[in-house]
Amino acid sequence: MVEISFDFKEKLDTTIGGEMHSYCFQCGACVGDCPSARYSKRGFNPRRIVLQTIVGMEEVLLEEGSIIWECTNCYNCYERCPQDVRPVEVITAMKNMAAKRETNPEDVRSMVKTVETKGMTTVLTALVDKRRVDLGLKTLKEIPVSDIQELLTEKER
């Protein structure tokens, strides 16, 4: 049986990017131009996902392996939506909620860790500096990682 969460709407309303989800009138303009809808074997459908948010299917949407992770972030739905729901942003808001529960994919968590600890998505090696010098570029300066770590939370460290 599907569990319904009656306060999911409020939670989304107060998560950045989720605020507009209840304005969806289910026209489906987002689906026609969605590459994930076209390529998904599990039936990814942004219209249905937004409907599920309105109904309150919090557990289905936020559980590990949720279909929301099939979104490619192409922003076609954002372009098409006549109601300014911005399905991709509603999906991203749910990804933020999933991150809090740690039900987001391991690959995402490790990428985020890299940015938090190195200040970059890619790791610097000696080969990089050599390549840069070969191209006539300066070697890279140190990234102020301590600033990033300071900004990760509202609290004082």
């Binding site: 994930s36 099939e70 990804k95 968590r109 990428m111």
Partner: protein, 293 residues
């Protein structure tokens, strides 16, 4: 005397670390069109608009705003070379300009490191700066070796154009900016069936992006082009290194050279293939080089 235009370059981590040949191409070509790049210290990852944004949007906005603050302190606009950096910094600028409460929350955190975001600088991908501020005529005037007869499959990627309301670059369904820039250097932009299809890279289900990339490469293969031309290192990653993986996975041989626009511009300005790092690509563009030599 025309005044040199100054911009703060934001190369991002993908270009600085993984594909420095793109940085070299931008630096070497922009000096010839009257664009001065003023380097500033202290930037971090933009941070990335897919994974980091999916983890905690407030922190994403805050770290992006910190990067914007650095340019604000210097009083200069930012130009970006990666569609991902463009997306993060433009979206942040837009959201903080339209949501005072959000700006306050971001500034509360920035206060911890002694910064305040005001919203005084703009962020534009370098192709947009070329078209709107520098002028395509300057690009034309910088060409010494036009790439006549070079057929280039245009690839826009998603984040340069969308959301169009925020990005303000071009019509996302019928863009022309890259075609105009290719024509400016004598090349022939070639349309193909899947030219606006997403590469799928952000999708966490691995079969879907592979199939999308395969379809795009197949669509390009049918057009008999010399290369694919693009303006984003993440797209490049998906099609250069990615092409080898796709060839293996789908047992179909692809050998489409993938070239960053500013490398092509460099060739047209008389730079050597090594000057713009074409020798660092996985799919070597030898037939193309023979054609433009």
């Amino acid at each position: 005397m025309s005044e040199e235009k100054k911009y703060v370059p934001f190369f991002g981590c993908m270009i600085s670390v993984k594909y420095p040949q793109f940085e070299a191409a931008v630096r070497k070509t922009m000096s010839k069109v009257g664009m001065t790049l003023v380097d500033l210290d202290g930037f971090t990852c933009c941070p990335d608009p897919i994974y980091f944004k999916s983890s905690d949007k407030l922190t994403w906005l805050t770290i992006a705003a910190r990067n914007l603050c650095i340019a604000e302190e210097a009083g200069l606009d930012i130009t970006t070379m990666c569609s991902g950096c463009t997306a993060t910094l433009s979206e942040t600028r837009y959201h903080l300009a339209h949501d005072e409460a959000l700006k306050k929350r971001v500034n509360q955190r920035l206060k911890k490191i002694g910064k305040e975001y005001k919203g005084t600088v703009s962020v534009r991908h370098i192709v947009t700066v070329l078209r709107d501020d520098i002028g395509i005529d300057k690009v034309v005037a910088s060409v010494v070796k036009p790439l006549n007869g070079l057929r280039v499959a245009v690839h826009y990627g998603c984040h340069l154009l969308k959301p169009s309301k925020i990005m303000q670059v071009d019509d996302p369904d019928r863009p022309t900016i890259l075609e105009r820039l290719l024509e400016a250097i004598g090349a022939e932009p070639v349309q193909h069936d899947a030219n606006l299809l997403c590469c799928g890279k952000a999708c966490m289900e691995p079969d879907m992006p592979a199939q999308m990339t395969f379809d795009i490469l197949t669509s390009i293969k049918r057009t008999d082009v010399d290369c694919m031309g693009l303006i984003c290192p993440t797209c490049f990653d998906a099609y250069d290194l990615g092409q080898i993986k796709i060839s293996r996975q789908f047992k179909t041989k692809f050998d489409i050279p993938i070239i960053y626009y500013f490398q092509l511009l460099g060739l047209a300005q008389g730079l050597s293939p090594e000057d713009v790092g074409l020798n660092m690509h996985k799919i070597m563009p030898e037939p193309l080089l023979a054609k433009v030599a």
